[in-house]
Symmetry: C2
Subunit: 353 residues, 2 copies
């Protein structure tokens, strides 16, 4: 049989045209440009469509002919369950979805599993553009995205070929936060994101040079290290605790462990408000005063950060998501852009001199 499986046979625009006694183009216009047809013709078309159970133009046929799909692809760089677990991803995707809803376009999620089929899934995605979120430097999916020739934006890096990057200057921002967080500290700690897709839990010191595959993690770590070493301190005294997932509980567990250990941290700079809130809880459980015994900073200025009096880095992931979506839907002319950020000083850090 020389026809694809469609179950059961779906009525076509041509059948509707025949049933309504009009030409196919009249039916087509009735759906895509209602003003183009008379009220009378439109009524005939609607009646015939209802009669036959015609659900509207076939999306694939329409896309083929029009050259657009009306869908934005978001490459997640992660298994989908992580993306939904991560509040930062949620804020970003909310921004993307705001724009999609406003423009009337759909949203296709393309989760990266690490398998070679990932590139194929990108190549076969029926979308008009891509937004790439949180992937690692060596991810071959970036090449697949570039190969499609569709407009695409990468959020917060990595840089690759001609793909523009939208985000903040993470290194400079981390350095600014670090200066506040580490003031008068002797045993500073960074509570950070995974270094690579393995998401291993690790503890490093600032004189080590780990292979950090996630650009966001790398830039922020470099920034925090800048703040510490530029103040004339020894890199080896700065530690990095890598939390496998961005959760309050994860930050609390790791922070609690270190606060009980030898040389407990007296300043904790976290890469997210969630991890920072975990650190605050760990400090409270340990009976430590914030900021006198231990200073804490977060990242993002989420609602909970203000409520907790947390010093943090304010940026709007939602706005960045919206910006990425507009850029990816907008067309081929784009350039890398840095968004604004600023440090919000609250009660969780020591007064500056």
């Amino acid at each position: 049989m020389n026809r694809p499986a469609d179950n059961p046979r779906r009525p076509t625009l041509r059948q509707v045209a025949t049933a309504a006694g009009v030409s196919p183009m009249t039916v087509s216009y009735a759906y895509s440009q209602p003003g183009r047809v008379s009220a009378e013709a439109a009524a005939k078309v609607r009646a015939a469509a209802r009669e036959l159970g015609y659900p509207g133009p076939h999306p694939a046929a329409r896309s083929l002919r029009r050259g657009r799909t009306g869908t934005l692809g978001v490459v997640l760089g992660e298994r989908l369950s992580y993306a939904f677990d991560d509040p930062q991803a949620a804020r970003f995707l909310a921004g993307v979805s705001d724009v999609c809803a406003a423009e009337g376009v759909g949203l296709t999620l393309i989760p990266i599993t690490g398998a070679p089929s990932d590139a194929q899934r990108v190549a076969q995605a029926a979308v008009d553009g891509f937004v790439v979120w949180t992937t690692s430097d060596d991810d071959p999916v970036l090449d697949a995205v570039a190969d499609t020739g569709l407009s695409a934006v990468v959020h917060a890096g990595p840089h690759r070929r001609e793909l523009p990057v939208i985000g903040i200057d993470d290194r400079a921002a981390a350095a600014a936060v670090g200066r506040v967080a580490f003031a008068e500290a002797r045993h500073p700690l960074v509570l950070g994101f995974p270094l690579d897709r393995s998401r291993a839990r690790r503890l490093l010191t600032g004189d080590q040079e780990p292979a950090v595959r996630f650009p966001v993690t790398r830039h922020r770590w470099e920034g925090f290290r800048d703040a510490w070493t530029h103040a004339g301190r020894r890199a080896a005294d700065l530690r990095l605790a890598v939390c496998p997932v961005n959760h309050v509980a994860e930050g609390e567990t790791f922070a609690a462990e270190l606060l009980r250990g030898t040389d407990p941290p007296d300043a904790i700079a976290a890469m997210s408000d969630e991890l920072a809130l975990g650190a605050l809880r760990a400090a409270a459980s340990a009976g430590l005063r914030v900021p006198d015994d231990v200073a804490v900073t977060g990242w993002d200025d989420a609602d909970a950060a203000a409520a907790a009096g947390l010093t943090t880095l304010a940026q709007s992931l939602r706005e960045q998501g919206a910006h990425c979506a507009r850029a990816a839907l907008g067309g081929p002319t784009m350039a890398s852009t840095h968004h604004e950020w600023h440090v919000v000083v609250r009660a969780s850090t020591r007064r500056q001199p």
Copy 2:
């Protein structure tokens, strides 16, 4: 000009065939059935494709001819930002995405905004099937889904036309939890989800008959009321506190308010573990003992429920998500199914007689 906008002109399979000196079908097979062509021919095709920058078969053309898109549509019944905010949605979608990843199909999210264009977005979605999550009884989008003729599943209701529903028997489950939660209680409270898309914060009593548009909310409320009235108590003594969003903080605020009021609740049955954890915090802040002063139950048996010693209803939204995805991708033969559930009794409720 009689050609759709593609920017810049994308190379076609036919061009690759010409460049490689083979027929179009050989190129097509090289991509879709690699075993069908000789190693030699495959090499020629790969070389020509790289040369021309051919990213693989055009998704729309392939979909049109094959009659499948390799994508599953998830209708969210909510603005996307709510979906990402709701931990229950996250667990469900993780299950959906597990199956999609395993089957190599993409995932298109179709958020419902309440606008009339929602139905159009459903009709124009290039997908092979639909999973509908958390929509209200009167949602016209359900008709749009049914009209497409694609296989579709609704999670937890509402029932509509021939669409199968997958979920648990919420009413029976709520009744079972309610019996445990309300034992020896005199002023029981249900901490619940929104009644309709307006998400208004409200406080009702069991003798009122509010219009509850979300089936999950309705069924659980009915079940809790069953538990109370079947024990011979007055419906008017049971209250329902409607929380606009499913967050710990939301449950904490509302519970704290009522615990400070007249006739403070001595038993709180929540529709989610998140709201229940909020109630536990409110009780702790008010200096109340759990379960002696106030019993608390949750719903879902999330990780945090076990950690908090919370009596709860155990179900697996992740499994249900996976089941829905398999059903929606599987084909036309499906039936409504009830999943298993059971009550997990922990320390947050009074010992049963």
